[in-house]
Symmetry: C2
Subunit: 238 residues, 2 copies
Amino acid sequence: MNVQDVIEHGAEYFLPNLSIDHVIIGYQDDTLKCLLLKVGDKWVLPGGYILQEESVDHAAERILMERTGLKRPHLRFLSVFGNKDRKFDNDFKGFFKKRGLPWREDYWINDRFVTLAYYSLVNIDTTHPVPGEFDDAAEWFSMDELPEMWLDHNSIVDTARERLKGDIAREQVTYNLLPTEFTMPQLHQLHQTILGSKLDRSRFQKKMIATGMFERLPQVVKESPGRNPYQYRLKKEA
Amino acid sequence: MNVQDVIEHGAEYFLPNLSIDHVIIGYQDDTLKCLLLKVGDKWVLPGGYILQEESVDHAAERILMERTGLKRPHLRFLSVFGNKDRKFDNDFKGFFKKRGLPWREDYWINDRFVTLAYYSLVNIDTTHPVPGEFDDAAEWFSMDELPEMWLDHNSIVDTARERLKGDIAREQVTYNLLPTEFTMPQLHQLHQTILGSKLDRSRFQKKMIATGMFERLPQVVKESPGRNPYQYRLKKEA
DNA sequence: TCAAAAGTGTTCCTGTTACACCCATGT
DNA sequence: ACATGGGTGTAACAGGAACACTTTTGA
């Protein structure tokens, strides 16, 4: 479905005034990053609309899959963003002009939208972004240095970052951000990056191993100076 | 706005396909109760629609206030319910028949609706339910013995009950369910009711007092057999 | 004075904190 | 050999769990 089709016929297929946005979080170079798409001059979160005969959950997974190809991601509801003046008309106006397409005030996508925001944790190396019809580019940005984004998308990202901090204290899900095989020092550094504070290395390691979620692989990898760490991976559930 | 107005003109004022539902939780006779409204032959959660020029947050508070008169309730987002076949047409059909009103398939309220569910904790004695135009009655039901409800409203209540269990472990908000002055034994019993399990009385009391959130009132109340408990109330924030 | 209810204390145990110490490897 | 980084151990402490003890009241 190309841009013109979405504008003209989208209202027949999608629920109006309701959208889904994804904060897709990855980890690279000791930095938390999220996937953004360039639309016109600014950036947006990967998102989409809900089909009229489709559940919200299904739409969230479908949209994420369309942009990343991921089938079983760690996907979690973040929050509702529903300000009364949440309209993209100005942003779309610039986008249409840049594309040389006609723009009309009464396009359904110019309406006020309530969005359901989700966040997901992905391995950046195995995620292959697929820009959509509206997107001029797809890029990973440090969550601490975001470009100018449409409307409230900046604050959606900030909300996700805060939420992640709280969530890792309760549940072990961060391994989603690493390759399937990883070392404890890597996991340790990741947690420190998420929390933005130091964690006792010794205690962290024992705590992680004590969860019983990970199995140690006999292999060791050689690197530079010090001792070689073990690798771990998630235990398969029985 | 009466029923006929809502049906005929609601689509001009409200966002389509999106609703808000409230699980309003109170506590009475050692039981968690929630406020339900009778519409036709079955019961529904108090709810409503979002005005086109109104934020979602504002709508949630407005709707709650319309049905309870409460201005500053403990209000919390619960979850999105968005099954693909979430339509109330059959339920509305029965309701219209019972009221002797004409019913048409294409009424906007018969469309598929995604709902944003909230839960709130209120003091049952100071909450005065106000039935709306659609409602034949308003009643408090034990959350463990719900009547037959429209569509998925039963499971929304169940979700709220589960959520509450988790939330009280993290934050002290349960005092919202009690009068402004209460005793530790009362608070203790409330927590046991919410969790559905026994809590060590001694430890509970010390833990609550240790939070420093409550101030002890010198007064004591006389009752029956045993010793008279102190009363407590929430400390005013500085 | 006895049972019941409320307040306080004691003991045990677990998990957290902050280190110290021991291994392995590259320079 | 030594600095660096990874793995394990230990002592001090805080908080949770289970239960005993004391105080106050009505019958």
